[in-house]
């Protein structure tokens, strides 16, 4: 029994790491730019396709292709922020919602058009393997993904807390007007934040590729979890999103194990509802950290 719980927790933490990369991106954009990026899942999808094509045509390991997918997505993020998001930043939320939602639909259908709805899988030497110890197993690909995800989250946290640009980002998220008065160029900060968020989505895509299939709708699977994690961990709170993602992974896994395999999400959403009822500001408190 205890063994089953432990294995379920291991499984949950591993997938939670991937949820974290997506949700940190969403929360970073929300915290700094103050918009909800509905297209975040589609950028994960783009990251997956980048890794898929690099692996299939150039034999690049999906984990290594992180070095391509992250910069590419960063540049896409900067461009999207500079040419699209910037134009709709104003007191009214509606255009922003429509813009990112339209972007999501556009990317999704573009992918359907270009790549068709086929499931595409990359086979690496570690895709089907797992480490075994003391009755437990840890899939290699997921362990690598989890480790890199935690590393990237840590790097982002360090960036936000130690560098001038990171501090500027946090400042802009706390009070845009005052930050501007202090000589911070908000557009530059927003560009970097959006780029960084998309780079994380790209990383999530590359890390998923060794063990998950790429297809145009793949982003929607993860973005739902990301939104829940973002709300659960307080909107705009990076650390909160990380912790919430891991918790959700574990909750889902335990739910499948002990409630029913079609009830994993019930446990997750029950957790969300309870949090909203008793701690409406989320688990992380009201600040961006």
């Amino acid at each position: 029994m205890l063994e089953t719980v432990a294995q379920a927790v291991i499984n949950g933490l591993l997938i939670g790491g991937i949820y974290a990369l997506v949700s940190i991106g969403v929360t970073l954009i929300f915290g700094v730019v103050k918009i909800v990026n509905f297209a975040q899942g589609e950028f994960v999808m783009i990251g997956m396709y980048i890794s898929y094509f690099l692996a299939t045509y150039f034999g690049v390991d999906p984990i290594v292709s992180l070095l391509v997918s992250m910069p590419v997505l960063f540049v896409i993020g900067v461009l999207v922020q500079h040419f699209l998001i910037r134009r709709v930043l104003g007191p009214n939320d509606m255009p922003q919602i429509f813009l990112t939602f339209a972007l999501s639909l556009l990317l999704l259908n573009l992918a359907l058009l270009l790549f068709t709805a086929n499931y595409r899988t990359v086979h690496t030497s570690y895709s089907d393997e797992a480490f075994h110890f003391g009755g437990f197993y840890v899939p290699e690909a997921k362990l690598i993904a989890f480790a890199v995800a935690m590393g990237l989250s840590g790097a982002l946290w360090a960036f936000l807390h130690t560098t001038d640009l990171g501090k500027a980002m946090r400042a802009a998220s706390q009070n845009r007007d005052v930050a501007t008065l202090m000589g911070i160029n908000p557009n530059r900060v927003f560009c970097v934040a959006f780029g960084a968020a998309l780079a994380l989505a790209g990383a999530a895509g590359s890390l998923l590729m060794p063990f998950y299939s790429a297809y145009p709708f793949v982003g929607q699977v993860f973005v739902l979890m990301a939104f829940v994690a973002v709300v659960l961990g307080t909107l705009g709170n990076v650390l909160g999103a990380l912790v919430a993602s891991l918790m959700m992974g574990v909750a889902e896994s335990l739910g499948i194990q002990f409630v029913g395999a079609d009830s994993g999400l019930i446990v997750v959403f029950a957790m969300l509802l309870l949090t909203l009822a008793f701690r409406p500001q989320g688990l992380g408190g009201g600040r961006m950290r």
Binding site: T4, Q7, A8, N11, G12, L14, I15, I18, L112, T116, A117, N118, Y119, R120, T121, H123, S127, D128, E129, A130, H132, Y137, P139, F211, Y212, S213, Y215, F217, V221, F222, M225, E252, S253, L254, I256, Q257, G260, A261, D262, G264, L265
Partner: protein, 419 residues
Amino acid sequence: MTKPRNRSVPDRESSGTHPLLSKRYGRRKFLIKTGSAVMASAFGAIPLRGYAAEPVNIGALYPTTGSMAQIGVGCAAAAKLAVEMVNEAGGIKSLGGAKLNLIISDVQSDTTVTRTETDRLITGNKLSAIHGCYASALTLIASEVCERAKVPIITGSSSDQLNKGRSYTFTPFARASQFAQAQLQMSKLVSDKPKVAVIFENTAFGTSTSNGLKELAPGEGVEIVMFEPYSAGFTDAGPLINKVKASGANMLFSVSYLNDLILIVRTVKQVGLNIAINGGSGGFVMPDFYKNVGKLAEGLQGVAHWNHDIDANAQKVNEEFKKRTGDFLFEYAGGLVAQTFMLADALERAGSADPQKVREALSTLDVSSGYAAMAPGGKVKFGPDGKNIYGRPVGVQWQNGDLASVFPKDEARAPLIKS
């Protein structure tokens, strides 16, 4: 702000308030009448020798976009191939060599869209029959619309619900409950004492298939040690396989579409679980499954309502389909080629493109040779519930990258490999 609408010509005429104008309208009416008579004869309402026969419209409802797009596109390709084959063989001879005209409609893998698209297809075209829609969840809805509009629909979808209270729905292939029986019998080929874990996606297809398994298991002498629905499109099969491991099963039945099944098979390997897997039908019997899973797929078993090696005709169509698309003719697509020939047979005997008459002809269909009989069992004849009384599934196994028929014994093209 309402604008007074112009009343139509007959309206104004019948109101009789403009007796002086009646002559003018009378001439117009005359033209409309004679004109429509001329048109009617030209377009075949009055058949004339020497005129090309009016094509017979066949509707095809498949999800060519959305989550099932890949399969839907394959189905559409097979539907086109089938219609070309019928037309090249001379079309419908009793209708003066009328060609089949295929009207493909995209149901976008969505139940709401399926309802509106089926409606639109029927009201917008003069259809003789419809075939579709791959997923049982979609077909159930399309079938409801067809029943109301009194247009026959023929489908390879396996849900037993399609045979309940319907008179325009025809299912020439094995039903979900029959799949279950075949799967259970196959498990006895693997082990004398099969202990089966059943995991299934919580959709119409998954529940109907797995309920069949549960009901029939005691009768077949198979013990079910785990019975678990899961939500389709999960991110991690780990917890589910954990449960399978804990159940002590020696055989796993997974009723899943492609993406979930890939995760399941991989996770079984990672856990190091030595268990025979029967993937049922759905995504398991698609060429893509092998492309995605690779060597891990070898030896995995499944059941299908159709396979490309069941007879010489099937192999011939398979070759042509392979030439066009690069992949072997998969279950559903192969079945719908046979269905098209069944429709052609019915049209031939009906001697009419009228959907009611086509329905009558379908209900008396009885074929045991040719492309229309290209089904496991080799014969098609519909019972009052629209079920093929000879319908049965075929047990298959992935062997060297191809799907070989291994069950039942008299239809096996290769022996079952025990892993």
